[in-house]
């Protein structure tokens, strides 16, 4: 097992961990604005780390035109997700505001 493989395994495991927290947040949070807090961040970083790990693993087979091209394409997908995911999150949140879904707030008597 080479050093690049170990690095890529670490990256992919980190990505799966953030995917996991995003999913748990999607299930547990009380309303969908808060769910978006978990998914909009956890999914972006999770996908970025996973794709990064795959790009590093792909370079393990030797530096040739083909492997570098494939890694560049993977990084393009990562950058695209990085731009697209916050925008989609913002669009869904704005749609929720337009549909007058009231944000969930903590009850005042619980705080005291």
């Amino acid at each position: 097992m080479s050093i690049l493989e170990i690095i890529s395994i670490l990256f992919i495991l980190g990505g799966v961990f953030f995917f996991f927290t995003a999913t748990v947040g999607l299930i547990r949070m009380p309303d969908y604005y808060c769910r978006m807090q978990a998914t909009g961040k956890g999914d972006t970083l999770g996908a970025f780390l996973c794709l990064m790990g795959l790009a590093i693993y792909n370079l393990d087979g030797g530096l040739s035109f083909g492997t570098v091209l494939v890694s560049t394409k993977i990084m393009f997908i990562a950058i695209f997700i990085f731009i697209a995911n916050p925008t989609a999150t913002h669009a869904i949140t704005k749609a929720g505001f337009d549909c007058s879904v009231k944000p969930w707030t903590k009850k005042k008597e619980v705080q005291q």
Partner: protein, 102 residues
């Protein structure tokens, strides 16, 4: 390394199943849109993993990029559909700006 990719793909598939619960059970339409978009992001990674398992990464990258773009456009289109609507909950007032930013 192939078996590692298999395990990662299977755990991502399990997470997709958990998200599917929110997509079916979600109280409002927005919850469903959010969970479908989350499933789409996971599918992008799963497609790439499949490509590495079958050793055809150069082909599956294009499919995965197409899936990412379609997921983004679809989410935007559905939420754009709700931009102009006043309310999806019958009987509730439209949330005023001053009310939201108090």
């Amino acid at each position: 390394m192939i078996s590692f990719f298999l395990w990662i793909g299977m755990s991502l598939g399990l997470l997709v199943l958990v998200c599917l619960y929110r997509a079916i059970q979600g109280p409002t339409i927005m919850d469903r849109i959010v969970s479908v978009s989350v499933i789409g992001t996971k599918t992008t990674v799963i497609l790439l993993l499949i490509g590495f398992i079958y050793d055809r990464a150069d082909m599956f990258i294009d499919i995965s990029m197409g899936y990412a773009i379609l997921n983004f456009i679809g989410t935007l289109a559905i939420s754009k559909f709700f931009f102009s609507r006043k309310s999806i909950i019958p009987g509730s007032k439209h949330l005023k700006q001053g009310e939201a930013s108090k």
